[in-house]
Structures are given as structure tokens and as C-alpha cells.
Symmetry: C2
Subunit: 260 residues, 2 copies
């Protein structure tokens, strides 16, 4: 029976700029494997790593006391009881504003992600005036972890092994946030089943599954939000060993977007 297993690894120490994230993650994984040997690294495993610790390690962190908001940010913040400096940062991180209503800015970031408040996050940063930005290139962040981790955990470089950098995004039309993939490495971001027959032998016309996003969502269920468990081992996921990219494969080009 096809099985997917998601296990939240132990908390990492508080991450600071310049920390060797791959080594800290490897230590956490190997510690888990000492407690439960079935968790020892295997070919086919995926690690889902929250954006927050990647941003911290890469120094994608801003001290709001250094930010001088423009008038538009001051007005919007006053109207909706928000922090004008944070609104200013959101505007700076946005390539295109889609909506600015009810205290939320929905924009397309420089990466092409459409999300609320440009992915800027004030929670779990350790200090009130510190916020994290999204990593500059989450696929590249994933690729670096994918290159470093196998040697640190006893996998071979050519073993199938995947990394997902995840974040929580809202969606239109449905309440609640879900975790999605900002970046991947060693994994297909999409599972393109177009042209494959279904169980009746009928060709499936438009079935492209957003694998990496589903993996991020599955991992979130194991990790939770309030705890400091930013790394989840996912075992049994399809697509491991693929060569995906969120920016190239998942982000929809401007001209195909029906909902600007």
C-alpha cells in the first residue's frame, strides 16, 4: 500500500545570519535517527524546510527601525492598524500590487509569487522589530541544501533526495493558509500526467499535479505553526530524483494569469 510519512524533526537552535544551515539540519536528522532508527536517511527522502530559517541563515532579515515609510504606507497602516514600516517593506518587495484592501497587500513579488504582504513575516523572529523577507532565490537555496546534505547524513550524492523550501500562503476564494513550495531541488515540482491513460484507458487531458506544493502542505500538518520544528522529513513522496524548479515550473507567467 502506497504510504507517505511526514515526521517533524527536533527543533533547531535559533538561526542567525551565516549559520551553516545544512549542518544544523543534518545534526537534527541524525539525532532523530538515533532515537528511531527507521528515520535514518534513505534514498528517496525529502526534507521540507520552512522559509523562515532559510531567510535567517541567508541574512534576509530587516530591522524595521531602519525603515522610513513613504506616505502611502503611513496612510494604509493608519487606516488598518498596521505597522507603516512593514507596509513600506512590502511595497519595496513587490513587483506589482494586485490588491490593497482590509490591511492586506496582495502583490506579485520580485520572484513572481503572488501572496499576501510579499511573504514578509514578523512571527518567530526573536525580536519585535525584526522581520524576515523571502529568500532571494528559493530554488537556489534548495539547491545548496541539496548539494550539502547528502554527505553530512551518509547518503550518496547521486541518491534521489529532495529539498522543498516552504511558506504559508493564503488563497483566493477559500479561507485559511496552506503551505506551498517556494523552491525545490532534487524533486519534480509538477507531476505532468498529461497523455497518461487513466484507469479506464482514457487519456487525461490536463492533469498536472503540483507535487511540491502538496508535499509542503503535508509537512505543515506534521510540524505545526507555534512550535519551532522547521524541518520535516517526508518519505514516500512521488517525484523524488526529478529536476524541478518552482520559479520555472510553478510560477505562472504574467500573460497566462486570468486573475490579476
Amino acid at each position: 500500500m502506497a504510504t507517505l510519512l511526514c515526521v517533524a524533526l527536533h527543533a533547531l537552535p535559533e538561526i542567525k545570519e551565516g549559520d551553516d544551515l545544512a549542518s544544523l539540519i543534518a545534526d537534527s536528522w541524525l539525532a532523530a535517527a538515533r532515537e528511531d532508527q527507521t528515520l535514518a536517511p534513505r534514498p528517496g527522502d525529502v526534507l521540507v524546510v520552512t522559509q523562515k530559517i532559510v531567510s535567517k541563515a541567508e541574512g534576509c532579515v530587516v530591522d524595521l527601525t531602519t525603515i522610513k515609510p513613504r506616505q502611502e504606507a503611513v496612510d494604509f497602516a493608519a487606516q488598518w492598524d498596521r505597522d507603516a514600516r512593514q507596509v513600506e517593506l512590502v511595497l519595496r518587495e513587490s513587483a506589482e500590487i494586485l490588491r490593497m484592501e482590509r490591511g492586506i497587500v496582495i502583490s506579485r513579488t520580485h520572484h513572481g509569487f503572488v501572496c499576501a504582504n510579499a511573504g514578509i513575516d514578523a512571527s518567530n523572529t526573536g525580536t519585535k522589530d525584526i522581520v524576515t523577507l523571502l529568500p532571494a532565490d528559493p530554488d537556489a537555496s534548495a539547491t545548496r541544501l541539496k548539494a550539502q546534505l547528502p554527505a553530512l547524513v551518509g547518503l550518496n550524492d547521486d541518491d534521489p533526495f529532495g529539498i522543498v523550501i516552504s511558506d504559508s500562503f493564503g488563497r483566493p476564494w477559500r479561507f485559511g493558509i496552506v503551505d506551498v513550495a517556494l523552491g525545490v531541488a532534487g524533486l519534480a515540482a509538477l507531476d505532468d500526467m498529461r497523455g497518461q491513460p487513466d484507469a479506464d484507458g482514457r487519456v487525461m487531458r490536463s492533469t498536472i499535479v503540483a507535487l511540491a506544493d502538496e508535499i509542503a502542505s503535508a509537512a505543515e500538518l506534521a510540524s505545526g505553526k507555534t512550535s519551532r520544528q522547521p524541518v520535516v522529513l517526508v518519505r514516500g513522496a512521488p517525484g523524488v530524483g526529478g529536476d524541478g524548479s518552482v520559479t520555472r515550473d510553478v510560477v505562472m507567467p504574467h500573460e497566462m494569469d486570468l486573475f490579476r
Copy 2:
């Protein structure tokens, strides 16, 4: 270590209108438990059931040879190489059309779901001219399964036990479909963490996790699309024992929708 386990149960027989779906699902679950006793039903378990078999059992199935398309459907189908009868059905199942472009109708269904082609599906129906509609009330479908299944699998009626009815939806701005919840029973649809402190003791302002949608996505990874494994056991999910409803809790009211 917090763990989520998703296991696709064995294929069910081809489902027909009037079939006792709860009994067929119970048989499949108990057969899996005979092969692997760790899969025996436990309090806290969730079953994710794809919309397709619920629709078939409830008779939400249409023979396209009985459908006479209106001119608008004929024209749209001709322009985009689609089946005019199916386009006609999509229009009938829609309360509001949001976009009609590139062969896809994005609409709000009578339930309030915004999705492509009103959730009408021609794959895996067994016959070329047969399509499935969404269940008339997926929360009610889930509630019926939630009422029937415990006694069939040896759980107590008051054991926490959840049902999710799932379907695959596209999203704006990102390629690929992800499975979401159409209906739930015995489970919180949302995990409302507003007012709870994060790991630094800061109150999280707007963290409402779409639990049921994430559970549906996790289950999809275990089941796959081409196989006939329409039921997935999910163990370790948060929110089991809650009293959620997708229609009441997740579907965003018209007036809050920024992206009509």
C-alpha cells in the same frame, strides 16, 4: 516526534448509484488492517475519500447523450476543441461565471466553490459519455460516512474520527492542481491559531491554517491519480474530533472575495 501517516487503501470495486459506500470503504480498510495490523482503525484516524466515488454512489452522474447544449456552449466548445454537452453542463452547475477563456470555464458553483469546469469530471467514469458532477452537499456526504463508518470498523461512535471528501482544484498564479476538501465531518476544517502566542510569545495575528485542505493534499500524494485508490487513511492529523464544515468555514463569502 510529530508524525503524519497517509496510506492508500486498496481499490474499491467500480462504484454505482445506490452502492453502500460506507460498507465498501470499511471492507477495504479492514482488509488493509489484516495485511498490516498497524492500520487497524484507531481513534484520531481520518479517511480522505475522493469526490468521484461519492458522486457515483450518490448518482451525481450525467449521461452526456441526454444533454442539449445552448448556442454559447456550442460556440465555446468549437473554438477550444471541447465537448459542447460538457460545457453546457458546466454552465448549468455554475452560479456565477468568473472567466471563460482558453477552453476553461472558471466559475462559482452552486455550493460556492470556485473551480475549473464546475468540478465536472470525465476521467475514470468507465464510459466515454458519462461524467460526474460534484456531490450536491459534500459536508452532508461526509457526515453520513462519519455516522456509518465507526460501527462498521469497530470504533466507538464518540471516538474522534474524521472524514474528508476531496477533489483536485487548480489555483490562480501557480501551475498544477492540488487536492482540497469539498466536505468534512468530525474534523476542524480550519485551525484558528489567532490569539495564540508563537514561539517568541508574540500573538499570531492572522494564522488560520486550512487543515482539511492540507489533509486532502497529503492524501493525494499517497493515492496518485491514475490508480483506483480513492480512499486514503490519514493518521496523526491535527483537528480530529472538531466540528468543521467546508461550506460554512472555508468557502469565502462573495463580499469578501477580492478576486471575482
